[in-house]
């Protein structure tokens, strides 16, 4: 049981590439912290630095009150679950779990107790004599979890542990991981690029981009109040609709606000915050859309429309919508036909406003 504290951690590779540009946050005892971000944002590097598999260029990493910068991975009292599980192919399931304990010269009866206990929790008891290649993907994943559990470490580190599983199993394992972590009360740091995993697992969510933290906080808070347009478009699927507005448009839309009126900005609306209606809405926003595509997924329907009076757009970043396109999410399967014109309205309280560079949220 331990806190994990990062203080202004940086990583610069030999070639001069700065992968981590000064990150600091704290994960409390027993909390589940998720690092999320697009590929190449440095989230895995950061996790590997906590594990001790990458050196730390500057800053401090503190696990349970001990600065671990110069400490070998095995001495850090952590356990890691890898994306490809990294099971020892020539060892049985039992030995895979026992190996780390044997290296610590733990007495064999105690090893046996721990392995049996882990196997029971993970429902692996019938497979202890099998080799990893005789197991299915989900079972291998559980062995990798077992290897982490038997160590009874201060911190679990997960490096995209579910991305090699199929969609159904991924959801099931996601729930299992969360239950297990709750039960063991062990601090966990979990890396993923899947925002759904991030939202459902995290006590603390750390959204990363380009080696920096974009936002840290409770997942729901982040969802409801994204700090930047990056977070707004990364968290939530489909992404938030982002529309650049000129200063005068903002002035017209948000008349009477304390905000300086003439500055340009970016308006954000989540797809589910729209309602299709012919009314206009006081203080809210109404968009006239041409329906271009419909996606029915049963319980809900996504409408892809283009704005009729297109606001001149900025170029889209990956994961963002092309300028002019708006996604509207409505419950049920009743949807307008392609080519129809609809009006989507969103109430005032559901609007998000960001500075023109997208780096800052402006509270309305």
């Amino acid at each position: 049981m331990a806190n994990v504290t990062l203080r202004d951690v940086r990583k610069t590779y030999a070639g001069g590439f700065e992968a981590i540009k000064g990150i600091g946050f704290e994960v409390g005892d027993g909390q589940f912290c998720v690092l999320v971000g697009p590929s190449g944002c440095g989230k895995s590097t950061l996790l590997r630095m906590v594990a001790g598999l990458e050196t730390i260029t500057s800053g401090e990493i503190d696990i349970g009150g001990r600065i671990v910068n110069q400490i070998e991975p095995a001495e850090r009292d952590i356990a890691m679950v890898f994306q490809n599980y990294a099971l020892y192919p020539h060892m049985s399931v039992y030995n895979n779990m026992a190996y780390g304990l044997r290296n610590r010269r733990m007495p064999e009866p105690e090893i046996d107790t721990r392995v049996q206990e882990a196997a029971r929790i993970l429902e692996l008891a019938a497979m202890l004599d099998r080799k990893p290649r005789q197991l299915s993907g989900g079972q291998r994943q559980r062995v990798a979890m077992g290897r982490a559990i038997v160590r009874q470490p201060k911190v679990f580190l997960f490096d995209e542990p579910l991305s090699n599983l199929d969609a159904k199993l991924r959801i099931a394992m996601r729930v299992e991981i969360r239950k297990l972590q709750r039960r063991l009360q062990t601090t966990a740091i979990y890396v993923t690029h899947d925002q759904l995993e991030a939202m459902t697992l995290a006590d603390i969510l750390v959204v990363m981009n380009g080696g920096q933290v974009e936002q840290i906080g409770n997942p729901l808070e982040i969802y409801q109040k994204p700090a930047t347009t990056f977070v707004a478009s990364f968290i939530g699927a489909p992404p938030m609709n982002l529309m650049p507005l000129r200063g005068d448009e903002i002035k017209a839309q948000f008349a009477g606000e304390r905000r300086a009126a003439s500055e340009a900005g970016i308006l954000g609306i989540r797809p589910e915050d729209f309602v299709i209606s012919s009314d206009s809405i006081a203080g809210g926003i109404a968009l006239d859309l041409n329906v271009e595509a419909i996606e029915r997924v049963g319980a809900e329907t996504f409408i892809y429309g283009t704005r009729q009076h297109a606001i001149q757009g900025i170029a889209a970043n990956p994961g963002e919508l092309p300028p002019g396109e708006v996604i509207v999410r409505i419950p049920g399967a009743d949807a307008p036909g392609i080519g129809e014109r609809i009006r989507a309205i969103a109430p005032r309280g559901k609007l998000h406003l960001f500075s023109a560079d997208g780096r800052q949220r402006i509270d309305l």
Partner: protein, 282 residues
């Protein structure tokens, strides 16, 4: 397009049969010749069926040696060959697995240079460096010893290369998992790398055992006593006679015996590494 015409098959099989015949006939002839007495073999009309001197010939070859020239019995030569071929194969595997481990898993100054130097030695087989090697071996007083037969031949770029390629296919996460599990460099090598390399080791053993067994020039050069000869050089010396009939029947028996251990190694080890290949999937 794959066409199925009976003629194609017939032609293909005819060519294959011819190939097998070309390879196998001399071996068959050696086998036959080793069962006749000296007169029949030298007479010029080699029968194609076995003669009645099998046991006598093999007994003499293995335990007595040639009568006319005082030679070592083949049993002893076989032992010499076996010791040196095994020594060469084991030594090569030992050295090359360690050097590949160093080159792949350790960061040290001039690592690339070290690898390239090893690589370049591919172009320097024994035949090319034979004089300096001979000089070194004789200065170390290793002429006519097993060490002299084995040591100069165990450095192997091929083996290093093979292990290097194999190690590079092992995912880095396995090393990282080992580090987190508290395994140091030696434990990782012993507990993980070595068990995973078994099939590669078997393959290399087959190749290098045969390489060692078939050495001719080097043993010829550094052995002067008959008791240190290998079987391959021994066969040659059996046929070097001045004014007497060469004992072809004994030479053929020796040749047949010389074939047995490499064939046994191939058959036995091949089974091992085919099984390994079938079972391993990553």
């Amino acid at each position: 397009m794959v066409e199925h015409r009976p003629w194609n098959d017939i032609i293909a099989y005819a060519i294959l049969t011819l190939g097998v015949f070309i390879v196998a006939f001399p071996v068959y002839l050696a086998l036959i010749a080793s069962t006749h007495d000296a007169g029949t073999v030298v007479g010029g009309n080699m029968p194609l069926s076995t003669g009645g001197h099998t046991l006598e010939n093999y007994y003499r070859a293995v335990f007595v040696g040639g009568s006319r020239t005082a030679r070592e019995p083949v049993g002893h030569l076989l032992l010499n060959s076996f010791i040196s071929a095994t020594g060469i194969a084991v030594g090569k595997i030992f050295i090359s697995i360690l050097s590949a481990y160093a080159v792949v898993y350790f960061r040290f100054p001039f690592r690339k240079a070290a690898f390239w130097i090893i690589f370049v030695t591919l172009m320097l087989p024994v035949e090319v460096r034979i004089y300096p090697t001979y000089k070194v071996v004789s200065d170390l007083h290793m002429l006519d010893t097993y060490a002299g037969l084995i040591l100069p031949l165990i450095a192997s770029a091929t083996g290093t290369l093979l292990f290097r390629q194999f190690f590079m296919t092992i995912p880095d996460e396995l090393l990282e998992a080992s580090r987190i599990d508290g395994a140091g460099p030696f434990r990782f090598f012993w507990d993980t790398l070595l068990p995973l390399s078994v099939t590669t080791i078997a393959a290399l053993f087959v190749i290098q055992f045969i390489y060692g067994w078939n050495q001719y020039l080097w043993p010829l050069l550094i052995t002067t006593q008959d008791s240190m000869q290998t079987i391959v050089t021994g066969i040659k010396k059996m046929l070097t006679t001045t004014d007497e009939l060469a004992e072809w029947q004994l030479a053929m028996a020796t040749a047949v015996l010389a074939m047995v251990p490499p064939v046994a190694v191939v058959v036995f080890m091949q089974r091992l590494f085919v099984r390994g290949l079938v079972e391993t999937e990553k």
